[in-house]
């Protein structure tokens, strides 16, 4: 017992130490992708006109310095949290991101719930009815969901549920006439409940439903595929056969023996899930004017706001590394084989 706990702690420490090179590599890649690409942000902003202003802007952004000087300057700024000011909002990029991060977190959590719920149902129906019509229909639904362009799906949702039926408001996180709940977590749905303001809570939920369903349904296609594949494997395993032979009820076999074990590999691929989630969030937030990190990126592209774009990417890189470490630790806890 104590040995197992000790090895988990050792694993966590080892994994935490590994984050340093991971962050470093991602930061370096971001830097070189942006610099090695033909063209530079200034010509992207100004085009060919106004060379004097271009030179001034290059000087201001430090683009005339030698590459290694730029690189170390960039690293220093990342580690001191100074990512420069957004050209568009005029505020420090770090401050902008800090404001927008909770919106993305709220959307991500809600979408994950939708994705897990729909995905597990589709995957289980598929796996338990292998090669029969129910399987084919579930797989078809999952394939179509996963392969739907998310921005288009969001537009269709708006067209049906906001424009035609008028059930939901679209745009932002809260009706402009309502006052923001006092910030505790930054998630409006949680904060409004903490403050006991039911009206704000329902309005926040009404704004969240469509974007979260859009992003969640697309992700659910991915979940369904994983659940199906993993359940087919666990259903073929010896312990399932043994349970069937012992006369365990079919429902218990499916639920306890097959599904629960099938969820372990789903946890291992959570990193990929988050990558898809973040990509999808850029388009979802942009379509629903959801004021999170994704729409910040989309706005930065529109405004050719280069410092904002670079800053946002750096924060994304850090978030991704943190998430991947957390996932690895959860996995090690779930599956002792990983620790050794």
């Amino acid at each position: 017992m104590s040995r197992a706990a000790g090895s988990l702690r050792a694993y966590i420490i080892q994994r935490l130490i590994l984050t340093v090179p991971m962050v470093f590599i991602l930061l370096t890649l971001v830097f070189y992708f942006l610099r090695a690409a033909p063209g530079d942000p200034v010509s992207a902003i100004l085009g060919e006109r106004n060379p004097e202003l271009g030179d001034l802007l290059r000087q201001q952004l430090g683009l005339n310095e030698p590459l290694h000087v730029q690189y170390f300057d960039y690293l220093r700024r990342v580690f001191t949290g100074d990512m420069g000011n957004s050209i568009f909002t005029g505020r420090p990029v770090a401050e902008d991101i800090g404001r927008r991060l909770p919106a993305t977190v709220e959307l991500a959590i809600a979408s994950m719930f939708v994705a897990a719920f729909v995905g597990v149902i589709l995957g289980v129906v598929s796996a338990t009815h292998r090669d029969r019509p129910a399987d084919i229909i579930s797989r078809l639904i999952a394939a179509v969901l996963y392969n739907t362009p998310i921005f288009w799906f969001g537009i269709m949702m708006q067209l049906i549920f906001a424009v035609r039926l008028g059930w939901f408001d679209v745009g932002g996180r809260l009706d402009a006439r309502l006052s923001l709940p006092p910030s505790v977590t930054g998630l409006y749905t949680v904060d409004s409940l903490v403050a006991g303001d039911i009206r704000v809570f329902f309005d926040a939920v009404a704004h969240l439903v469509l974007p979260a369903t859009t992003l969640g349904l697309v992700l659910s296609g991915f979940f369904a595929r994983m659940v199906r594949a993993n359940m087919l494997q666990t259903l073929q395993s010896d312990y399932v056969e043994a349970a069937e032979a012992r006369g365990v009820r079919p429902f218990t076999v499916f639920y306890r023996h097959a599904l629960k074990n099938a969820m372990v590999p789903v946890a291992t691929t959570m990193g990929l899930t988050f990558a898809i989630l973040f990509s999808g969030a850029i388009l979802t937030e942009s379509v629903f004017s959801w004021p999170g990190m994704g729409s910040y990126v989309a706005d930065a592209i529109d405004a050719r706001d280069y410092p904002a774009l670079q800053g946002a990417v750096v924060y994304y890189a850090i978030i991704i590394v943190v998430i991947s470490v957390l996932i690895d630790i959860v996995n090690a806890w779930l599956d002792p084989r990983i620790r050794y």
């Binding site: 399987d135 179509v144 392969n147 362009p149 990193g271 990558a275 379509v287 050719r304 994304y316 890189a317």
Partner: protein, 299 residues
């Protein structure tokens, strides 16, 4: 003698794959693959023969603005008076061209790197894996957006951006496959015969590894089309008014999709049909080629 035996093993693995694939044409997996192929082929034909198939010039206004679907214009017209059906037909060209170019680039960079990394192992392998895994962990669209914002618009630039996103996919699968094949008896045998390394790789490892390329292609192609559409939607794909599905959806949104839904709906439907067809191919191929998921014969 031994060389003959080795080449028999090699030939049989390719023959087995073909046989497996052909023999599956009546199973669900096989049917999925054939349907997928048929749809993708139809899109390719549509793209190539767009000038003859499209009833109108996709860019010119026909002086009927934002009319809903009718007999004359089955998909309606845009607020600029363009025929949506014609734009949708022409719109297949850019995504298909981008995916084709991007896949060739990803394959020709990712595959050799994976081969070298897996075959030689050691520090080089660890270094490449670390870099590729870092790119792979990064959200694809975000990576594409960042690079596209710097290198600018155009078919070739978008292809380059998308190629970059999918290099790690080719790299990972090929590298892991090589590492697995390296352990097999016939590679060990050719080492024992002191065959040159290039022969071992070129004649014995490559053909076995080549099996996984169609699967990676069909998986990444569907994703690549979605990424291309996303870039176009965000305004990073192409200069104005080239018919392109993602761009057309974006234009429809700018011009008020609430009142002319048809100019947003149909380009999006095209993307779904094409990507789902590619997904059918990859699902089917995966089922056929992944023996773990094949039904146990004994039961």
């Amino acid at each position: 003698m031994a060389t003959a035996a080795i080449s028999m093993v090699r030939r049989s693995s390719l023959a087995r794959m073909f046989h497996l694939f052909w023999g599956q044409s009546r199973t669900v997996a096989g049917v999925l693959v054939w349907i997928g192929f048929a749809i993708v082929l139809a899109f390719i034909i549509m793209a190539i023969f767009a000038p003859w198939l499209a009833p109108y010039d996709p860019n010119r206004s026909i002086e009927r603005f934002a009319t809903p679907p009718s007999a004359a214009h089955p998909f309606g017209t845009t607020p600029l008076g363009q025929d949506v059906l014609s734009r949708v037909i022409w719109g297949a060209r850019i995504p298909l061209a981008v995916v084709a170019i991007a896949s060739v680039i990803s394959l020709s960079l990712g595959a050799p790197l994976g081969l070298v990394s897996g075959f030689y192992g050691g520090y080089l392998d660890r270094f490449l894996v670390l870099i590729m895994d870092s790119i792979y962990a990064f959200p694809g669209l975000l990576l594409a957006v960042v690079v596209a914002a710097v290198i600018g618009q155009g078919v070739l630039n978008v292809s380059l951006v998308i190629a970059l996103v999918y290099i790690p996919t080719y790299f990972r699968v090929i590298r892991n496959h090589v590492v697995a094949v390296k352990e097999e008896l016939f590679v060990e045998a050719s080492d024992a015969l002191a065959l040159p390394r290039t022969t071992v790789v070129g004649r014995y490892i490559l053909p076995s590894v080549a099996q996984s390329i169609p699967v990676i292609f069909s998986v990444s192609a569907a994703d690549a089309i979605l990424t291309q559409a996303g870039l176009s939607f965000l305004g990073l794909g192409l200069p104005v008014d080239v018919p392109d599905w993602g761009l057309d959806v974006a234009r429809a949104v700018e011009r008020g999709f609430q009142t002319n839904w048809w100019s947003a709906v149909f380009p999006g439907l095209m993307i779904i049909i094409l990507t789902t067809a590619l997904a059918f191919i990859s699902e089917g191929l995966n089922d056929i080629l992944n023996p773990l998921l094949r039904r146990r014969e004994a039961r």
